[in-house]
């Protein structure tokens, strides 16, 4: 085990290399540039290829090409680039191409503030492309160390499910320096809970089974298997077809291969003071969850019966954690309220769901404790002169 005082970007690079990634294509964008830089330094040392693309669309398409050729591939960006991934993301979902995409969130919309953390892509990671008829997978680390773990995990899931997987971080997590332990061999990786899955090559010309099966090797071109893949509705053999019944089979697979294997995701979450049926559950992910954890500990010291639920597997959304009929507070880095909508959908009927957002800055611990108190006492919420509606 090697220890470093390094950034989340460094940790992601090492995680990708541990997972077998040997191809990275990216386009410079704050705050994901340092990851591209780290990849350009590290990949050649491991015999891997780093390419700078002419734009984000090309970057992810180049990753698709490399993945189609048998490489494990990754790309990274921030919100303004993630929106340009919509085109290739859809292709990779439809053609069941394994890929890993990192999105380091900054405050938007559009270019916004390049150097401030944001969580404006919560729903965009669920719907990273148009058209619907698919499920998406997204993991949200909240530390540099976890960035490494979730990158490894993302590669594992992308191979088993044959699909792109998003790692959703934010500017503070990818740019922040932290203590990082990097495993040096497989035994150490196992000890740290890292799961890996090697690339397998589809031996037949058939493209997909019309079932929810996973662990089917992806299409790899160049082995003369007669494999076909395209952006059109495919037949099971990979031919393009304009036919509703064929599309039903394809859509069923893209949705249910994920929905019917949720057991693979369940163990990724983080709970604090959740064992005694708290009166208020504070839900968050990414950077705000670190402030929330401290605030909840302090609130407990002050006698408030508060618990913290941090989500790591964002998509598919872990509805099973929202069974308690109690009060909920979603804390996130946007003012429009995204996570809160999903919490509201998942909780039992008549549960109270509240929202505390910030826009380019972070909630402070006193802010949070004050909000907990108000919610518990049924008082209206307000912050910095902005009247925020109770959800």
């Amino acid at each position: 085990m090697k220890r470093f005082l390094e950034t989340g970007n460094f940790a992601i690079t090492e995680g990708a290399i541990l997972a077998g990634c040997r191809f990275f294509a990216g386009y410079p964008i704050t705050p994901a540039t340092e990851l591209a830089e780290a990849m350009s330094f590290r990949l050649p040392q491991e015999g891997g290829v780093y390419l700078q693309a002419e734009d984000e669309t090309a970057a992810m398409h180049m990753c698709i090409g490399a993945s189609l050729g048998g490489y494990k591939a990754m790309t990274a960006t921030s919100g303004p680039g993630f929106i340009l991934y919509a085109d290739p993301y859809g292709w990779a979902l439809g053609c069941e191409t394994p890929l890993v995409v990192l999105n380091s969130g900054r405050v938007g919309p559009v270019s916004g503030i390049t150097g401030a953390p944001g969580q404006g892509e919560f729903y965009l990671t669920r719907y990273p492309t148009q058209g619907g008829n698919f499920e998406a997978i997204c993991l949200a680390p909240n530390s540099a160390q976890e960035c490494m773990a979730m990158t490894v995990e993302a590669f594992y899931l992308s191979e088993r499910f044959r699909m792109p997987v998003t790692v959703l971080a934010d500017q503070l997590i990818t740019d922040g320096f932290e203590d990082i332990s990097v495993p040096e061999n497989e035994e150490e990786m196992k000890k740290m809970g890292f799961r890996t899955w090697s690339r397998k090559i589809h031996q037949g010309p058939d493209f997909y089974p019309a079932t929810d099966e996973i662990d089917i090797p992806p299409v790899v071109l160049g082995h003369n298997t007669g494999a076909l893949c395209s952006d059109w509705t495919p037949t099971e053999e990979g031919y393009d077809i304009e036919e509703v019944e064929a599309h039903h089979k394809h859509a069923y697979r893209l949705i249910y291969k994920v929905r019917n294997h949720r057991d693979l995701f369940n163990h990724h979450y983080d709970k604090k003071f959740m064992d005694d049926d708290p009166d208020l559950i504070v839900v968050s992910y990414g950077t705000p969850s670190r402030v929330v954890n401290t605030a909840v500990s302090k609130a407990r010291d002050e006698g408030l019966k508060v618990g913290a639920l941090r989500l790591i597997n964002l998509w598919p959304f872990p509805d099973e954690f929202f069974g308690a009929k109690t009060k909920y507070l979603a804390v996130e880095l946007n003012w429009d309220g995204q996570l809160v909508r999903e919490v509201q959908r998942a909780v039992p009927k008549d549960s109270e769901v509240h929202f505390l957002g910030s826009c380019g800055d972070l909630p402070t611990i006193p802010d949070l404790i004050e909000t907990f108190e108000k919610v518990l006492k049924d008082e209206p919420l307000a912050r910095k002169g902005w009247k925020l509606e109770a959800w």
């Binding site: 698709i64 189609l68 050729g69 059109w232």
Partner: protein, 282 residues
């Protein structure tokens, strides 16, 4: 109608997709035949080529026709996919892309230029039906000026990549393409010789091949779906390079042949990576 497979089609193409679903009288099959004939004359076999296609008439009608491995990209992006694939494939595998004019010279032009810039080994056959015909017949970036289409009812009056002395091949030459040529679909055996040279170039090759669309372009511009009219019209407006007349739209032949004159993208990248891995420097 019974379709009888010839030796060349049963050797290289999938019976399920040939004949294609193209409109009656479409000239795309002539271009397709030229490329397959070139492959045959070079002695290449099905495993030697990975075939990529794009969106639109040219992409959709040629997708999955190749007996071997094949893929179709989203609109305009197949050149970026091919570059990633080029890195992963062994150098002896050829990549042939059959694409349309909207895909290559419109939505995909940036990616095309960067593929030329990097000299990635691929042979791009741009099947130019003079506009966006699968969406009903709108003008494109190589549609002759003055042409009437569904989106230029008064005649196409914009400046484009083939108007007033401009030529899209000049852009690609400037970008670093190592083989560039143009043929119309009726050039037959002459075009086959050119495509062979394009495939043999270990680098970025592009052959621009205008072909007749009687259904949309012909019916709007010439007022008739008669195939003979649009075939004649295209033939009459083309001339070999150096023999251009005043009404020549397409000067045909090899425009630029710098085959194998500079390092190929993926081989260069892999050699450099290997050197860094061994010595820590380039």
């Amino acid at each position: 109608m019974e379709y009888r497979a010839t030796e060349i089609t049963s050797r290289y193409l999938r019976s399920r997709k040939i004949p294609s679903t193209a409109c009656s009288g479409c000239g795309l099959g002539m271009n397709h035949k030229i490329v397959i004939q070139a492959v045959k004359e070079l002695g290449l076999e099905v495993p030697d080529i990975v075939w990529g296609t794009s969106i639109g008439c040219a992409g959709r009608q040629t997708f999955a026709t190749w007996k071997g491995d094949g893929f179709a990209g989203t609109h305009g992006r197949v050149y970026a996919i091919a570059r990633g694939l080029r890195i992963a494939l062994p150098p002896e595998k050829k990549i042939i892309l059959t694409v349309g004019d909207g895909d290559a010279f419109g939505i995909g032009l940036t990616h095309l230029i960067h593929s030329a810039r990097s000299n990635a080994d691929m042979t791009v056959i741009v099947n130019d039906n003079l506009g966006y015909q699968s969406t009903g017949g709108q003008y494109g970036w190589t549609t002759p000026q003055g042409s009437k289409t569904d989106s230029s009812p008064y005649g196409m009056f914009e400046h484009n990549l083939m108007s007033e002395g401009m030529d899209v091949l000049k852009i690609l030459k400037g970008a670093g393409a190592t083989f560039l040529a143009r043929h119309v679909a009726m050039d037959g055996a002459w075009a086959v010789e050119t495509v062979k040279k394009g495939i043999l170039n270990t680098g970025f090759s592009l052959i621009h091949m205008p072909y007749p669309c009687p259904t949309n372009f012909g019916s709007r511009e010439l007022g008739s779906r008669n195939q003979v009219n649009i075939f004649r019209w295209i033939r009459d407006h083309s001339a070999p390079l150096g023999e251009e007349k005043e009404d020549t739209f397409w000067a045909t032949g090899i425009w630029h042949d710098a085959s194998n004159s500079r390092p190929e993208f993926s081989q260069f990248v892999h050699e450099t990576v290997e050197k860094i891995r061994r010595t820590g420097t380039i």
